[in-house]
Symmetry: C2
Subunit: 222 residues, 2 copies
């Protein structure tokens, strides 16, 4: 089948940057390409837009086909359209990002790829296309949004301690954060609800267990 | 000339939401369409991506062709790709937004349009395509970014008083802001530099005149 148009049209794809925290590091989900170009190289999950799906639908379908992951919070990140970003022809890609708890899922790669795995952001292999650039941009956005939204809670189970939340922020931002100020700021945000539960953490007295006041949504906190 | 591909390709456009403040209201730049579809209706400036330009280059070229405006800070907003957003065929549009001082420019519409003008956001006529939705999204982003960046200063001349800055924020956010808190927050941001100049405003004592410490760039303030 062929498609003919009377002015230039472009291939459109969606690519997805899925972040998780594993082994105390920020990691990203990569797939190993099964076909040219960049066959055998690691890349972001993603693929071509179909005529009957919207952009986010394309991102969700490709993510599920290539990694088995479904049902996560996705946010549109940025659209990359540099002229030579694909060696075959001009491809405009709409990038999305997602945050998940990797301990709650298992990867089941299917179409087009020969593997899917988590990789630490500070140990990325050479990637296909401009995917390093897309990941760098996603990381920047993620770090910025931590400061003014409840995005980081996507990395945590429904119930968590302040110490766990603090560890998430330190891991994503890649720097130590004063514990006392952090606790104060989080409690002042109005987003946390203390539960009746408490938990032993190390040699300390039992730690309060919190949950989000509005779970299941990402909220802007100012 | 015709273009043939062996899988679906899409028309790609850039549309630009240009905000200004005029007569104490937040206004947006619209063009009157000279051709079908929606001939004679108001729309955002924008048009088709050419093979030899990147996405932002397309936005800048279309903005200049249709309105005469050039050389402004542009930021990618969001990509809209709903299946039926254009009645002719599927068109993916990458939306940009810009903030300018309307008193510093004059409009000179050229190709494809029969007019260009500023319209208050609370008095928009019916628009072509999904342009109401794009403008609503741009306004939301603009209001959010006021809180954590120096974006609003794009609306002001190089030198300004605290009263003028306060008026910009109130106009964009569409609500009164406590003057004393606002002044305090702005002075604490570290982005302002007091000049040797002062200015008479109404019946008050002379007001200090400020400038940005880093003019010509939009900075994230936290």
């Amino acid at each position: 089948m062929s498609y003919t148009y009377d002015y230039p049209h472009y291939a459109v794809t969606a690519d997805i940057v899925v972040f998780t925290i594993r082994d105390g590091t920020l990691q990203v989900l990569l797939v190993k390409r099964g076909a040219a170009p960049f066959k055998g190289r690691w890349a972001l999950p993603g693929g071509y837009l179909k005529p009957d799906e919207d952009l986010e639908g394309c991102a969700r379908r490709e993510l599920e086909e290539e990694t088995g992951l479904a049902g996560f919070y996705l946010e549109q990140l940025y659209t990359f359209g540099a002229i030579k970003r694909d060696p075959r022809e001009r491809v405009i890609t709409v990038a999305y990002f997602a945050l998940i708890r990797s301990d709650a899922v298992s990867l089941r790669p299917a179409t087009d790829v020969v593997g899917a795995d988590w990789t630490a952001l500070d140990a990325l292999p050479p990637l296909a296309f401009d995917h390093e650039q897309i990941i760098a941009y996603a990381r920047e956005r993620l770090a910025a949004k931590l400061d003014y939204s409840t995005l980081a809670f996507q990395f945590l189970p429904e119930r968590f301690t302040m110490r766990e939340l603090h560890a998430v922020y330190e891991t994503v931002l890649g720097k130590p954060l004063d514990r006392r100020n952090f606790y104060k700021k989080m409690l002042a945000s109005g987003e946390l609800q203390e539960t009746a539960e408490s938990r032993l953490e190390g040699a300390h007295r039992p730690a309060a267990v919190y949950r989000l006041r509005h779970p299941g949504e990402v909220r802007i906190t100012r």
